[in-house]
Symmetry: C2
Subunit: 360 residues, 2 copies
């Protein structure tokens, strides 16, 4: 198994990346502490494929295992679902040494993490991400939370996992559309910090789409390394360094909000947001046309959408952006690329944002 370590002192943890490794999860959890109770948080879709394996792996490692199954989908990422997890934990008398195991994609991970952050003022949790987007992004870095009817991830906390455990084989059952959406986040890492990795992605489109094992593990590992380095620098998004991870997310989040989290998968919205950000950067004279076009082309080669549909009101998108967490003091800070591998933060007034979004 390959290992990436997130350097956060006493809150540091390992990311383990392997293939067909799910049956060893329990043994790895056993090393984390004295707790004997484990609750798996998952949804029915993921449960159908992997719950039995995870359950018996934990049981073999002497955990007293229970399962808290949630509805599948971003629209269930609400404070109500968190209360549902809490009720389950109270009913089984989970104590502070207990472990929550998030088995699923980003939605499951964000919710299980937030439930762990807020139960008994914080218990341990383990991420077992089963989607590309969760493996390369949401399961690393300690961001947890739920959506508010008026905006994505407005309610949440920073809470680092004790372990992130990835089995590449879980990607085999991932619907094609979700696989592609995750690749948008992968491309993002190339744009924000690694031009060589971006080149690698351009050269391996077919291999990635075929989930060729060596290529897949390399891609996931490289994304985790890049994210771990940024997170170690700026755990709580205060120095500005971590903000670069939001490339494509400012427009992306707004697009998800105005379409009520129903039309786009998160990665799809981020991909469209990256193209929008590239166009804004180009229009502002920061980014060359060629570097803008390479981003759009690569997303398109992976079959990802790149345009905000004509019938979506640009003013509503701009308005949703001002409610985003990244808005500070009335200004909207966007991550813009100067070239592939190098980004910077630029602050715009709400009015300027309206004008810029009209042009995307």
């Amino acid at each position: 198994m390959e290992k990436v370590t997130v350097q956060l002192g006493e809150r540091g943890y390992d990311i383990l990346i392997g293939s067909a490794t799910l049956p060893t999860l329990g043994a790895h959890c056993r090393t984390l502490g004295p707790g004997t109770a484990a609750t798996i948080v998952t949804n029915q879709t993921v449960a159908a494929h992997y719950l039995t394996t995870v359950q018996s792996s934990l049981a073999k490692a002497d955990f007293d295992v229970s399962v808290c199954e949630l509805e599948d989908g971003e629209r269930f990422k609400t404070i109500r679902s968190i209360s549902h997890i809490h009720d389950h934990l109270v009913a089984r008398r989970m104590d502070r040494n207990g472990l929550l195991v998030a088995l699923g994609g980003g939605v499951i991970g964000d919710m299980a993490g937030f439930a762990a952050a807020t139960f008994l003022r914080g218990i341990g949790f383990v991420q077992v991400p089963t989607t590309v987007v969760a493996q390369v992004d949401s399961s690393v870095g300690g961001k947890t939370g739920v959506n508010h009817p008026r905006g994505k991830n407005l309610i949440g906390a920073f809470h680092q996992p004790r372990l992130v455990f990835m089995d590449m084989n879980t990607l085999a059952t991932l619907p094609r559309r979700e696989l592609l959406a995750g690749i948008a986040e992968v491309i993002k890492y190339g744009v924000i910090s690694d031009p060589v990795f971006f080149d690698y992605l351009e050269a391996n489109v077919e291999e990635i789409l075929a989930l060729e094992p060596g290529v897949t593990a390399h891609v996931v590992r490289r994304c985790c390394e890049l994210k771990a380095a940024v997170v170690a620098d700026d755990e709580r998004e205060t120095s500005g360094r971590r903000a670069i991870l939001n490339y494509g997310h400012t427009v992306g989040h707004a697009l998800e909000a105005v379409t009520r989290y129903r039309r786009y998968l998160h990665g799809e919205a981020v991909g469209i947001g990256m193209v929008a950000a590239a166009r804004i950067a180009h229009r502002e004279g920061i980014l060359d046309e060629d570097q803008m076009e390479r981003q759009r082309t690569l997303l398109q080669r992976f079959g990802l959408p790149t345009e905000i549909p004509a019938r979506i009101d640009r003013a509503a998108v701009a308005d949703a952006m001002t409610l985003d967490k990244k808005a500070a003091g009335g200004h909207i800070r966007m991550v813009l690329a100067e070239r592939i591998g190098q980004v910077k933060l630029v602050a715009f007034s709400a009015e300027k944002v309206r004008e810029l979004v009209r042009g995307t």
Copy 2:
């Protein structure tokens, strides 16, 4: 104004203690950061006395002020109230630099703190405690949260305030019963760590009951110093050191739970819990009869209840104790006094607890 500093590195903060100082609150908040938005979280009872002063003090310091008024009472300390605060913050587009100002007792402080901990993954908050129990206990140390139908404070997070600001004059409007309940927590500090302070309390019962200014400020300041020292040692209650603050709370919490948080004020339940803990310690041969009796007598001199009423089922109290957060691995850890000024942690099986609680 007197100052106690809580030493927690980058999360450290000051506790300011004065009289008739409320009009200067805004100026002190102004020094905390660049934020211009402040939301006061309070209840109608406290608002009637102090909201105008606090509001205009913040406005004079150039804050854009809004007020989020909650229902008064422990039974409203629920996740629903937290969502109500979040809705208010979203509606007014509070950003990460915004400040929550908790104006009220422990319930308001716990809820405002938890709302701040979980909004945009953590925003700043200021405690303005207006009750004895909030001044000497709940506003210092970063514990925030709400109750679950099955147990007190089961849902919550650690989130340190940026400032704790106390005006002794606010105690003048405190109902007598709440004043007395707070004194139980004051007595607790003497028992857990300062025999000289316990002597001082025994010698100044009349002065404290009359809220004599010099005595009151000394008492509050000493409690804050004692608590700040413990919290600086063990911020997240992991080393065991902080657990001593729970003296009287294991039985106290259980008593509140079985009476559905309606019969006792928190401090009253803690006072009864202290007497129960003293009896258990005496029965276990840890504490002298005289040292047990001094605790009961001092509580009684302040007009506080000291007995679990005969009609309350001891088995139900014992059962509620096993659900308490302090239970770990099926054992219940209780803080027991060896003498006044010195306590230790003792672990009991659930069965032993049942037997011990029967004898209180």
